[in-house]
């Protein structure tokens, strides 16, 4: 019996096979509960429900203000249940209760409210002035795509779920959402809030299960009109291929190896905090983490000392304790991946100046092998594998530079371009650098500040399209141009002569 069931057509249901998988607390490896395991058949069932809700249901035809009211209600319910969702998110993902309480839950509610606002404020019909073919009249109508599939990763399960479902639903689409198998609990819990918010059956469907079956079905099923994915670059490529079968538009938010540039005029106290926050927040399991700190040579030694001193003060432990700064990695496998990269770093670069292992000891019930200490490698050449490959763990590469041009060149020497930072007392200088960075977001004297009001996405192999902002709303709509010729006589149809004056 599943503790967490699939949410299809407005109801919680078991998987067709009756199979479940166990979701665990990565801090203890103890089970949290059984999750219904969707396979291809369940995915098809969810897609079919979304298809029917779109084709035959009221949702796409509701005024934007009515869809907005439902999304605002969902946000209100989420906030009313904030502690329950935060606790579940923290336990299921290993992220700290601080992160869940102050980033995941409010961020998810904020995304719902932002896209509700978009549904109200963004017109779905724009009259166009000055027709090039007078006396014709023209307007553009914005319409939903239809069924939108959203596939989200393990690092911000609830937040990413709302980044996908909120714009889709606000624009009048219906949605099938698949959270990551490691962290499917809070996304599935959203179903109960959708029921309470009176979102019509089939408009929002949530399934959990292996990507190799359920995910593949979402990306390839002809009844799906659009796919949005956040996760691995290689999976993004796979989704593009699967979606190409029926020319589905895709939105991809993929990997990163972002550079955080610390200039010689930076406030070192703040800059060090920005680098540590930018790297180690959520154990570095953040796509746009600034895992390459490019530090000017004139301040290099002092800055590295600051980093090491403060990294040593980051508290690792029970993620459900508000005093904990870093909980476990999402899984043992992820911790092992980090270990592998640290071994690579030792071979290529030398010993890290701090970290480099799991913590020695934690509270009795915590599985130390699932945790990893903040790890800093210094004197790293940007060609090193640890500086080129995304580790998705708490590993910082500190890379020296001498000129602004060199910093820009190093920062851009990556297949990715998702995030980045510039730390400087001279904002004009920092902006000049930011303008040259091939990346979707740059934080000056800050890091990780993402908000639903601003676009987010990647250059190069970090993705396609932008989520959030008004751009993140428009990708869930398509434009239809309507041309009306009001002429009553042949004079208004001279252009037919391009074929023949005799028609």
């Amino acid at each position: 019996m599943a503790d967490f069931k699939l949410f299809i057509n407005g109801e919680y249901v078991d998987s067709a096979s009756g199979e479940t998988f166990t979701t665990t607390d990565p801090a203890t490896d103890q089970p949290i509960g059984e999750v219904a395991k969707a396979d291809r058949e369940d995915a098809a069932r969810a897609i079919s429900a979304a298809r029917t809700a779109f084709d035959d249901g009221p949702w796409p035809h509701l005024p934007g203000s009515e869809r907005a009211a439902k999304l605002n209600k969902l946000a209100e319910l989420l906030e009313a249940n904030a502690e329950r969702f935060a606790e579940a998110e923290s336990r299921d993902s290993g992220g700290t209760i601080k992160k869940a309480t102050f980033a995941d839950v409010p961020g998810a509610a904020s995304a719902l409210r932002w896209f509700a606002r978009m549904a109200i404020e963004q017109p779905d019909r724009i009259e166009l002035e000055g027709s090039p073919f007078p006396p014709s009249k023209n307007y553009v109508r914005y319409e939903p795509h239809g069924v939108c599939a959203g596939i989200v990763p393990f690092n911000f399960p609830l937040l990413m779920a709302c980044w996908k479902l909120a714009p889709a639903l606000a624009a009048g689409n219906t949605s099938v959402l698949k959270p990551a198998s490691y962290t499917s609990v809070t996304a599935l819990m959203l179903g109960e809030l959708a029921q309470e918010a009176d979102i019509p059956p089939g408009v929002l469907n949530i399934i959990a299960g292996p990507g190799g079956t359920a995910g593949e079905e979402l990306a390839s099923n002809p009844m799906v009109d659009k796919v949005a994915f956040t996760g691995s670059t290689e999976v993004g490529r796979r989704i593009m291929q699967l979606a190409s079968g029926t020319i589905k538009p895709v939105t991809l938010e993929l990997g990163g190896k972002s550079a955080n540039i610390v200039l010689d005029d930076a406030d070192l106290d703040i800059a060090a905090a920005c680098v540590l926050f930018g790297t180690f927040f959520h154990n570095g399991q953040v796509c746009e983490s600034g895992t390459r700190a490019l530090v000017h040579k004139s301040i290099y030694d002092d800055f590295v000392s600051l980093l090491v001193d403060r990294a040593g003060k980051i508290a690792i432990g029970n993620q459900l304790d508000f005093d904990t700064d870093l909980g476990p990695m999402v899984s043992r496998a992820q911790a092992e991946t980090v270990e592998r990269y640290v071994a690579l770093g030792r071979e290529e670069v030398g010993e890290p100046i701090c970290g480099g292992s799991a913590p020695d000891a934690l509270a009795d019930d915590l599985v130390t092998a699932n945790f990893y200490r903040p790890t800093i490698f210094t004197g790293v050449d940007n060609s090193a594998r640890i500086a080129q490959e995304e580790i998705f763990g708490p590993v910082l590469c500190v890379i020296p530079f001498e000129t602004d041009d060199e910093a820009v060149a190093i920062a851009n020497d990556s297949i990715y371009g998702l995030g980045g930072g510039v730390q400087s007392a001279n904002v004009e200088r920092a902006e000049a650098i930011a303008d040259r960075l091939q990346t979707g977001t740059v934080w000056i004297n800050d890091y990780h500040m993402i908000t639903p009001e601003r676009p987010f996405g990647g250059y190069k192999q970090s993705g396609i399209g932008r989520e959030l902002g008004t751009a993140g709303y428009d990708i869930y709509r398509q434009a239809k141009h309507v041309h009306t010729n009001p002429s009553t006589g042949r004079d208004g149809y001279m252009h037919f002569a391009a074929l023949s004056a005799n028609i």
Partner: protein, 152 residues
């Protein structure tokens, strides 16, 4: 770059060959949640910059130029199997396992002790139980700095 495979990885790939009718391909991909990782796909187009870097159970392993450059010569990790869930679209996930890259052909040295990371305060000491959901609860209060933080 040469990518080898453990016996278990070969078994998993062979098992998927039995379950899938299309042509299987392993591609070593990069980025985000799984770092650099192997992906077993059915009827996959590897892309113009991919070359074969190994074989497992008759299935070719491809890697992009970008990665081949980082692992020159015979260097390369080994295909292994972890008994964990994963979110990729890699087809072996339907077996409840995930292919992973392990080993580097390189030795790691002793663990450094340059900076000590303190454990969080042990204000609660929950014990193992059959119902950990009920046992493990939130501890403490939010830090005051965050109390005033509100998303719009």
């Amino acid at each position: 770059m040469r990518v080898s495979a453990s016996a278990r990885a070969a078994e998993v790939v062979a098992a998927m060959g039995e379950r899938r009718t299309g042509t299987l391909t392993v591609t070593i991909g990069t980025g985000c949640c799984e770092s650099t990782a192997p992906f077993l796909y059915e009827d996959f187009w590897p892309g113009p910059d991919q070359e074969a870097v190994g074989e497992v159970s008759g299935v070719t392993i491809y890697a992009p130029e970008y990665l081949r450059r980082l692992y020159p010569g015979d260097q390369g990790p080994r295909l292994e199997v972890v008994d964990e869930l994963a979110e990729s679209l890699s087809v072996e996930t339907e077996l409840g396992v995930r292919l992973a890259l392990r080993g580097t052909g390189l030795d790691s040295t002793d663990e450094p002790q340059a900076c000590e990371v303190p454990a969080a305060p042990r204000r609660s000491a929950p014990t193992r139980s059959a119902h950990p959901v009920a046992e493990r609860t939130v501890v403490g209060r939010p830090p005051p700095e965050l109390e005033g933080l509100r998303f719009r």
